[in-house]
Amino acid sequence: MSLNGPEPLLTLRGLTKSFGSFKANDGVDLDIYPGEIHALLGENGAGKSTFVKMLYGALQPDAGAIVWRGQETVIPSPAHARQLGIGMVFQHFSLFEALTVAENVAVALSGDEPLRKVAADLEAVSRQYGLPLKANARVHDLSVGERQRIEIVRCLLGHPDLIIMDEPTSVLTPQEVEDLFAVLRQLAAEGKAILYISHKLEEVRALCERATILRHGKVVGTCVPREETAASIARMMVGADIHQIRPAKPASTATAPLLTLRDLSMPARDVFGTALKHISLDLHPGEILGIAGIAGNGQSELFDVISGERLASRPDEVTLFGAPVGHVDISARRAKGAVFISEERLGHATVPGLALSENVILTRHRVNPGLKSGLFLNRGRARSLLDTISEKLDVRKSTPDPAAQALSGGNLQKFIIGREVLENPRVIVVNQPTWGVDAGSAALIRQALVDLAQGGAAILVISQDLDELFEFTDRIAAIAEGRLSDFTPVAETDRRAIGLKMSGIFEGVPA
């Protein structure tokens, strides 16, 4: 262990927090030393967020002690945490889109300096750490990477000794991740401690000196990540071996494509939307295509126009099974044998307040005549379909037919995938199939898709998770500012090349 000093900056002993009968944190112990980058690892729902909120004063522990610089303290509020020297860079950015960069920084500072001084300070810090920022830009005009810089600069302006980073790389390109790591290493070299929360094991192995692993609210181990393999850390996180995907054999592209886009262009929906520009692709049977990209580069617009939620301007911009469908709605496209799985699980893929069996009816009534009897719904049939889905994809639910919103993210996504693939669709378009899903469920979902491709289905996966795309797709392209790059076979490309395409550099770049 490379520790800069014998005295820990922060010691936590037996931190416990319950919500009702659920113990989110159960006796968590942790030491952080100055100059150390310490990883906090765990699956979704392992209790990382609760733990961090207690450190940052947003939640109060039920039991346990927080020792800061050798003194036991209580952290009643985030402002108090900042005063102590604990800064936080949030996972879901806590920025205000309508405000300028300087205003976003000023709003979090405890002092009352004039905005002009805040702007000057933030530009100075941003130069010092190589995090370029314009103080007067509006946040909603900025990219995700730039937004993260604001968060970091805002945190640094509070002169913290401990910086908590909550999943900072989930929205960055590989190049941006490298830049971020350089900044973090510089901060650690200056003697600041960093608590780095993540579930990306390769990153943790590259960056962190020590790691503490949480499972079900308890510390299940500490390790030196460099001395472990990703698989051995994952085993500690999940508590079991993770299913390895059996890859499908490569598909032939000699057959006629099942889904095509031809020079598809579409103006932006509103000022916050992205216009699609001249997008073409061919999706063949047995093939899994992946589209990488950073959020907000046209993925949801592309999904909407392929699914028929928005109609294309010309019918032949989108074809399914050789027939132009750009002008027909989503039900007509489903009736042809295609399914569309939206990234928004509650409120789009399902109606939160309706029972799962009713959610089955909502997307399948046009294609499954058994769901209707005359004018009426056949609820019994819907419930038996739900049972089949639950069994096939291991959907765990507390009652036989709960409301969609009662399911956890992973279980709900398994239900949605199961519902859509039940009748062996020939074309599957899915946006963010495993976003926010625990590793076990994610593997199950990916395997289900691979098996369908093996059976001759054509699958288009839009995802922001590069690891996922490299794990199970055949060819990958990137979408940037509404333009789509060429597709490259997975074996012939790497993260760096895709990362460049994600930042919009792909014209003239050899495939």
Partner: protein, 304 residues
């Protein structure tokens, strides 16, 4: 003639301006209070009753403001503490205010009042045309102009105003930073109530110095529309309110001239014209979206 017309325009515009400014601050914090009409009519009945009972119009104004604040606190308790639906609660508040004011004001119908004294500023008030318009008005007029300046300064030049706008944009993020979301929203709602109460008091003490049931006649709703069409910016609210005032007075003169246009149509003109003009000046959709409080109308419940 021109001078007296200009004077009546200012008088017609002031209650609208006040109510809209209050609502602007409320909406900037992300709360939509559709109860402006109800708070305004309570301010009108309170102002009139206070004046009749004490003989002092200034005490009347204070009573009007107090009733506006009281009603807004009721709204705040329901919407902020109990997190009820803002739309439904606001509508209920309007209906409640209209009913309660009718009950409270029954014995004051037909009574005549002491007019608010005019506050002349020596020297300046004697300037031709603009003298009496700018410097020979009642105290509420001066207050309304001060509030426009004050609200602009508060929202865009103070740290507290920045926090209020931040809450309106994203209360979850504001809460994560440790800003007391509900405290700010309560204060904003109370300010809105005070302004609506003051606007109502102006109606029953200055504009038409008497009490009649439903005397606000939809001005609360116009104030709400003004806020939206003015893209939540105080000086645009000022412009909108005075434009509305000008058209309302103009159409009265047009009716008097007997142009053969149905009077109902002329009476509708100020509403129509104001909305049209504000739609035209808020053509810049980007600017409008930046100014629109993103969390408007959504309840916020801080986590445990």
């Amino acid at each position: 003639m021109l001078e007296s017309i200009l004077l009546t325009i200012a008088t017609a515009a002031t209650p609208l301006l006040l109510a809209a400014l209050g609502e602007l601050v409320v909406e900037r914090s992300g709360v939509l209070n559709l109860g402006v009409e109800g708070m305004m009519i309570m301010g009108a009945v309170g102002g009139f009753a206070g004046m009749i009972l004490t003989g002092n119009p200034f005490i009347g104004v204070l009573v009007g403001v107090a009733l506006g604040v009281a009603l807004s606190l009721l709204f705040g308790f329901l919407v902020l503490t109990l997190a009820t639906n803002q739309y439904a609660t606001g509508l209920a508040l309007t209906i409640f205010g209209l009913g309660l004011s009718g009950l409270l004001g029954e014995s004051f119908i037909g009574r005549s009042s002491v007019r608010m004294p005019v506050l002349n500023i020596p020297g300046l008030s004697d300037l031709p045309v603009i003298g009496r318009l700018l410097f020979g008005q009642d105290i509420i007029f001066y207050l309304s102009i001060l509030i426009v300046i004050g609200v602009t300064w508060f929202l865009f030049s103070t740290r507290q105003g920045l926090k209020l706008r931040a809450i309106g944009d994203n209360p979850q993020s504001a809460h994560a930073l440790g800003i007391k979301v509900l405290r700010y929203r309560y204060l904003a709602v109370m300010f809105g109530g005070a302004c609506a109460g003051l606007a109502g008091a102006h109606l029953s003490l200055v504009y038409t110095p008497q009490w009649t049931e439903n005397m606000t006649a939809g001005r609360g709703w116009i104030a709400l529309a003004l806020v939206v069409f003015a893209s939540w910016r105080p000086f645009r609210v000022l412009a909108g309110a005075y434009f509305f005032g000008a058209v309302s007075i103009g159409q009265l003169h047009a009716q008097a001239l007997g142009l053969g246009i149905p009077s109902q149509l002329l009476s509708a003109l100020p509403y129509l014209a104001t909305i049209l003009v504000l739609v035209i000046i808020s053509q810049n959709r980007r600017l409008t979206l930046i100014n629109t409080p993103a969390s408007l109308g959504k309840s916020f419940v801080p986590d445990r």
